[in-house]
């Protein structure tokens, strides 16, 4: 090619902001019709690419769909099981395009530890463009207006490669001068916990312009900010020599104001952030507090190992929009999804982006564009459609809020994914004489999520051994940590106990099943079901919670 394209960094210093905005964020100006036009066209390309591959032949059952309608009618909804034999063995010859990198994530904690996803060159190109767009949006407070220096010191509290978040710095760095804390070369040698601590130390010494992190980590840092600043109470004068004069000044002023007003130091007292970007579960719960502490509202981006980076909030930070060129999006309404969970033969209906209803919860189904390996893939994420268009922000496309994983998975702080199998296996390993159980994701007073395990002990065991909630929690906690390493990180990184146990009166769950004609769901039953069951335990059969 002739003229080499400008780097993002050079664009910031040489081009008009409107032009830069147009280059990266013009997808926000699309009408719904134009948005769907991009979706359909790229799906057409993906069908052809995928159909030519061995994997495609298998999923398409030998017949390449000729249209979008045919694709949706004939291609089955898929899960990772449909791809596992090809992808886990990294059988490149079966894929629609040659992978440049393989990303990894937790599949089911314990027994099926990882799932991997291939990324080809074209996918990475789209990913890069979209992540830069998200960065612009993170540095914006209104449409088209952003504040981004040509280089930025960045605190990076996201998992490194081979996790999906590890791609961010690799894709951003060639385009933008980012000084990562800790430096990327060092990250590979560090544990995630160490990475966060070293990163924050450097940030405090040199100052930062951007913060990329998991919501739960940012929240933990914010909560324990004063401890972090003082180095856990061990303040040493010689540490000050590493501080830049600006940071020393800010620190001194912050300490003075803190002492004067009797308030703790806030991150905003030390840092003047251009952008705060967060990923992960439960972000919505932390946003207000983080904004108060950091002086700028966090921008949430969304994605995953299989779907790439698919969504970002905009300047108003009130809902995710999905990038039109990352994946083809289909949505299963919650009721359809639940019906499918109860009846494995039922095929849930899917709806397209222009067929949604505001306020409805949906399970996301994606087909990755540009030679991706997943078609009609059930990611396992639930989104709420907040609105179909945002007139205030001038967006003619739906906006979403990430709710959680699908009910059959308990995701705690974005670190671990606990399934029914995992809990059952842990109970077996612990040799505790648990008669019945169910698990439910709950939140503590600080909006931190945990797994609440409701347990019925065997009647005989309860009479023979000392069985208390504390004993059970500690006993099972050991086996959970043994079985699932991510679970272990939770305690270490966030300082939270991710599990609480409530002992139920023996026979409660059986009585519930008798009364309502069905057993309670093992993982994440509805809140009403839990209330009914607890009422049943307290009040016996008399009244309460009667419903069909």
């Amino acid at each position: 090619m002739g003229v080499s394209p400008l780097r993002f960094r050079d664009k910031l210093s040489k081009m008009e902001p409107e032009e830069i905005w147009k280059q990266y964020c013009s997808f926000l100006d699309l009408s719904m019709e134009q948005y769907m036009g991009i979706q359909f066209r790229l799906l057409e390309e993906q069908i052809q690419l995928f159909g030519r591959s061995g994997l495609g032949q298998r999923i398409f059952r030998g017949k390449i769909p000729a249209s979008v309608d045919e694709f949706r009618q004939t291609v089955p909804l898929t899960t990772y099981d449909d791809y596992a034999d090809v992808l886990l063995q990294k059988r490149v010859e079966m894929l629609p395009s040659e992978p440049m990198v393989w990303l990894e994530t937790t599949w089911e904690s314990g027994s099926r530890p990882v799932k991997v996803a291939p990324y080809c060159k074209e996918m990475l190109g789209v990913y890069q463009n979209n992540i830069l767009a998200a960065m612009l949006l993170a540095a914006s407070r209104q449409r088209g207006k952003f504040t981004l220096k040509p280089s930025a010191r960045t605190l990076y509290c996201l998992a490194p490669l081979p996790y999906a978040t590890g791609l961010f710095p690799l894709l951003i760095e060639p385009e933008y001068d980012m000084q990562f804390f800790p430096p990327l070369n060092d990250v590979a040698r560090m544990s995630f916990s160490e990475q966060n601590k070293v990163g924050f130390k450097l940030a405090a010494q040199r100052g930062i312009d951007m913060f990329f992190g998991m919501s739960s980590i940012i929240y933990t840092i914010t909560k324990n900010f004063n401890d972090f600043i003082s180095g856990g109470g061990k303040f040493k004068l010689r540490n000050l020599i590493h501080f830049t004069p600006t940071m020393l000044y800010r620190l001194a002023m912050a300490k003075y104001r803190s002492a004067r007003d009797g308030t703790p130091i806030r991150p905003a007292d030390l840092f003047d952030l251009q952008a705060l970007v967060c990923v992960g579960t439960d972000t919505e719960l932390f946003k207000d507090e983080l904004e108060k502490a950091w002086g700028c509202r966090p921008l949430e981006i969304h994605g995953g190992t299989e779907p790439t980076c698919i969504g970002t909030e905009t300047w108003s930070r009130n809902g995710l929009v999905f990038f039109p060129d990352a994946c083809f999006y289909e949505f299963i309404p919650e009721q359809e999804m639940l019906r499918g969970m109860d009846d494995s033969t039922y095929v849930p209906k899917t709806y397209l982006m222009n067929e949604l209803t505001a306020g409805q919860n949906y399970e996301l189904v994606i087909t990755v564009f540009k030679g991706g390996a997943f078609v009609r893939y059930r990611v396992g994420d639930m989104y709420r459609c907040l609105r179909l268009r945002n007139e205030r922000d001038g967006l003619d496309m739906p906006q979403f809020e990430y709710i959680d994983r699908i009910p059959s998975v308990i995701d705690i702080a974005g670190f671990t994914r606990i399934t029914e199998n995992a809990v059952r296996r842990v109970i077996e390993m612990s040799r505790l004489e648990v008669h019945d159980w169910f698990a439910f994701k709950e939140y503590d007073g600080e909006n931190r999520s945990f797994m609440h395990l409701y347990v019925e002990m065997d009647e005989h065991a309860a009479a023979t051994y000392p069985v208390t909630e504390r004993i059970l929690r500690e006993h099972m906690g050991i086996y959970f940590r043994h079985y699932d390493h991510d679970y272990e990180d939770l305690k270490r990184l966030l300082g939270v106990d991710p599990m609480q146990i409530t002992l139920l009166t023996t026979g409660t769950m059986a009585r519930y099943a008798d009364k309502y004609g069905r057993p309670i769901r093992k993982i994440n039953p509805s809140t009403q079901d839990v209330v009914d069951l607890l009422y049943l335990q307290r009040a016996g059969d008399a009244g309460g919670g009667e419903r069909k």
Partner: protein, 836 residues
């Protein structure tokens, strides 16, 4: 203060001229707030430098006056700089503008009252004037305020950089300008020797030039405005005045010494010389400015003019494209330029070669996002810009690769009558620089010109094509074919030429069966088959209504026959794909003649090919005949009687076949034939026509041979599906009869015998007298015989009742006149009933 009088005068003079010149060029620019504030600042610069100059020259009215002007200019600069910077970065708010404005006014008042410095005192030492003044401590105040204002300017720019995202490169010239001023001031303060030079005024001019450049970069105004006529006039006045002043003593000396005799004409001579000088200087300056600043523009205009003339001189699309591509290569120095034109047939934009024999064939689909962008925005776009538009997101990788391989840099739409008829794709320039604004504008102008030329060429081509082509099929017409054949003969020089004439068989019948619309469709289909088979090997024409001719230079009869056979196969394959099986009967008869073996000139070639077609028809249609000089080709005329005689055995063979299958139908056909012949005779039809109707009666149900026995002899009522099959017997009859050459005259009667007078019949649903008379006769007698005969599923109806039924349906199912005639004939015994 030591003065260097020459330099002190020269430097401010140059600085003043520079500022004045920039100011003049801005007068012609389109103004906005930024330009107004810049002009005000130039005004302050002119006060500064001009005041300084006049002071040095001790001009009228007084040094004090010019001193105050100069210092006021200096005092005004920071505030005006603040205003200009605010407008430049789009800063809002007026508080600080007012604060600094008020401070500036205060400083001006204080300066007027000599509170900073004393008035300068000019003394002359050794012939050189010296300037001295006393500075008061209060002089620190304006310096402090100026520093504060410049800090505000700095903050505004920083804010613009950070908050409003103004690119930092836009500030570089400003920074250089301010830096130069700063360095000069520092140098003057640390090195007293430099203080003797008026470097501050020089820095002032440099600063003005830097700002001017920054504005040009930001396209607030164009650099070419420097070359305006106003600037040339202004410069001329300055030069002439300078010469006049400078040469004053010389002129005086000249008239005092050498030209004493002409002293009374001194004024006139000087005036004439001045005028000549002014004209000369103006033209030279105008030329110089144009050469330096607008040379490219002039060249481009000239090129466009030549291009416009060239493309408007021709109506040949190829030549227009050639000229256009040449222009692109020449004007913007690109390696490749592709002109793609829209092809309605496949809805793609295909690259056109012009007259180049070899070119890279490429196409862009109509739904390509690039095409959609161009259609919506109706303007050119650089490929790098397109890559960052949302349209690019829906580009396929193959499409991206195709454009990347061509190294496309700029794309321009070609529009005619609100339609995008083509696009121009330009590769990156040879120097790898991006297309400039001026180049893009030039190319868009070129596209406008070429689009008009192409429109004219298309119009011409359309008219020419209309005159040469058949409107329905798009093939050449007879006249063009004949001309082409003449030309082919002239160029033949002993080579072989063959002509194939195709004549579609039973095409009138096809039209009657399916309507002329379907017939037209079939003609078009046949044309496409011919085109795909012949390609560029020959010339195809629609020679008549259902006749097609192909001229094949260099082909002998055998090769031509192979082609004709292949076309026949293609036609049958194509027809078989159609849903309705009854279309299977469309065939053609073809005649081939060859030069020089069978014909000696174009007339003979066509005439003998025609004879061969006729011969093919005579020999049973659906065949290809090659004309030879043997007797085989002699047409054999047969009269109707001969035909009837020849085919009577076939007719009876067919009726015997139906007898074997269904005896009722055989008897029924006989009865219908007789009744119908009697009715037709009574109606006054001639003998030939009566005979046709009789034969039609015999054959009208012949198609029932193909109806399954289970339906034909079913005892109960037919189901809908069975009835649908039964209805097919009409078309099946036609299918069989058409294979009896020269008996096709019975087909209209057979085809229409289930049509109803009110139009509700089948197969065509025609009504009234549109139904052939024979068919109307058959309809009445067929119904009558069906009613009065006994069948497996019904008893015979009494004749009275049958006639009453006919009477009731006169005007609905039956022709009233014929029906009434038939009833009366039966009632009067003129028609004898046959029993079977």
């Amino acid at each position: 203060m030591t003065m260097n009088p020459h330099i002190f005068s020269l430097i401010p003079a140059v600085a003043l001229l520079c500022n004045l010149f920039l100011f003049m060029t801005l007068l012609t620019a389109r103004k906005n707030q930024t330009i107004y504030s810049f002009m005000m600042m130039l005004g302050a610069f002119m006060m500064w430098t001009g005041g300084s100059l006049m002071l040095r020259l001790q001009m009228y009215p007084s040094p004090n006056f010019w001193w105050e002007v100069s210092v006021s200019g200096i005092i005004l600069v920071p505030w005006l700089y603040y205003l200009m910077a605010g407008h430049y970065v789009g800063e809002r708010g007026w508080v600080m503008k007012c604060v600094w404005g008020a401070a500036t006014i205060l400083m001006l008042i204080m300066n007027h009252n000599d509170m900073y410095m004393s008035r300068p005192v000019i003394t002359v030492e050794a012939g050189r004037p010296n300037l001295s003044y006393i500075t008061h401590p209060l002089a620190a105040v304006p310096i402090l305020i100026a520093v504060l204002i410049f800090i505000s300017v700095w903050r505004i720019m920083l804010r613009g950089l950070r908050k409003q995202g103004v690119p930092s490169v836009h500030f570089t010239p400003f920074l250089i300008g301010v830096l130069v001023m700063f360095i000069v001031i520092v140098l003057q303060s640390v090195a007293p020797v430099l203080n003797t030079l008026p470097l501050d005024t020089a820095a002032c001019a440099i600063n003005a030039i830097c700002i001017y450049y920054a504005f040009c970069k930001k396209r607030i105004f164009a650099l070419s405005q420097i070359a305006s006529k106003g600037a040339a006039y202004f410069m001329t006045i300055l030069v002439v005045c300078s010469v006049l002043v400078g040469a004053n003593s010389a002129i005086r000396f000249l008239f005092d010494t050498i030209l004493q005799d002409y002293v009374e004409y001194e004024m006139i001579i000087v005036a004439v010389l001045c005028t000549m000088l002014a004209i000369l200087v103006f033209n030279v300056l105008n030329l110089l400015l144009s050469k330096v600043f607008v040379r490219d523009q002039i060249e481009r205009e000239d090129r466009l003019r030549r291009f416009s003339t060239a493309v408007n001189r021709t109506l040949q699309l190829d030549q227009i494209i050639d000229t256009y591509v040449d222009l692109l290569h020449e004007a913007v120095h690109v390696e490749h330029a592709y002109v793609c034109l829209y092809h309605r047939e496949d809805q793609c934009y295909w690259s056109e070669a012009g007259s180049a024999p070899i070119h890279r064939k490429m196409s862009l689909r109509e739904d390509n996002p690039l095409i959609l962008w161009l259609r919506e925005h109706e303007s050119s776009i650089s490929y790098s810009e397109f890559r960052h538009s949302s349209y690019f997101k829906s580009m396929w990788e193959t499409e991206k690769r195709a454009l990347a391989e061509l190294n496309i840099g700029l794309i321009l739409p070609i529009r005619c009558d609100e339609q995008m008829v083509g696009i121009t794709l330009l590769s990156e320039k040879n120097d790898r620089k991006p297309y400039s604004f001026d180049e893009t504008m030039f190319l868009e102008s070129a596209v406008s010109i070429v689009s008009i030329a192409m429109q004219n060429a298309n119009l011409y081509e359309t008219i020419q094509r209309d005159a040469q082509c058949d409107a329905l099929t798009g093939l050449y017409n007879r006249r063009y074919f004949n001309n082409k054949m003449e030309v082919a003969f002239q160029q033949a020089s002993g080579h072989s030429i063959s002509v194939i004439l195709f004549n579609l068989d039973n095409f009138r019948l096809y039209n009657e069966l399916y309507g002329s619309g379907k017939g037209d469709e079939m003609l078009i289909t046949f044309s496409r088959i011919l085109e795909s088979e012949i390609g560029s090997k020959g010339t195809i024409a629609r020679y008549g209504g259902k006749e097609f001719a192909i001229l094949l230079p260099f082909f002998d009869s055998t090769a031509a026959r192979e082609i004709a056979e292949r076309i026949g196969r293609r036609l049958q394959e194509d027809i078989r794909r159609e849903e309705e099986s009854t279309r299977h009967f469309l065939t053609f008869s073809a005649g081939i003649c060859n030069y020089p073996t069978a014909a000696a000139n174009p007339d003979q070639l066509l005439s003998y090919a025609n004879l061969a077609v006729f011969s093919a028809k005579q020999h049973g249609k659906n065949r290809i005949m090659v004309y030879t000089r043997s007797a085989d080709n002699e047409p054999q005329q047969m009269d109707k009687a001969t035909i009837v005689e020849e085919y009577s055995s076939t007719i009876y063979a067919l009726t015997a076949a139906i007898d074997a299958k269904d005896h009722y139908t055989f008897n029924h056909s006989n009865c219908v034939a007789q009744y119908a012949a009697s009715l037709a005779e009574a109606y006054g039809l001639n003998g030939d026509h009566v005979e046709i109707i009789r034969q039609a009666g015999l054959l009208h149900d012949i198609g029932k041979i193909g109806i399954p026995d289970s339906i034909l002899t079913k005892a109960g009522k037919l189901t809908d599906e069975e009835f649908a099959i039964m209805r097919q017997h009409v078309e099946r009859s036609i299918e069989m009869i058409r294979h009896l050459p020269s008996l096709d005259y019975v087909i209209p009667a057979v085809l229409g015998h289930h049509e109803r007078w009110d139009g509700k019949g089948y197969p065509r649903g025609i009504a009234g007298e549109a139904i052939p008379i024979g068919a109307r006769c058959l309809c009445i007698v067929d119904s009558f015989d069906a009613m009065v005969s006994r069948r497996s599923y019904k008893h015979a109806m009494p004749v009275e009742d049958a006639l009453n039924e006919i009477r009731r349906n006169l005007g609905r199912q039956f022709d009233p006149e014929l029906g009434f005639l038939f009833i009366s004939m039966v009632e009067e015994g003129k028609i004898k009933l046959l029993n079977y």
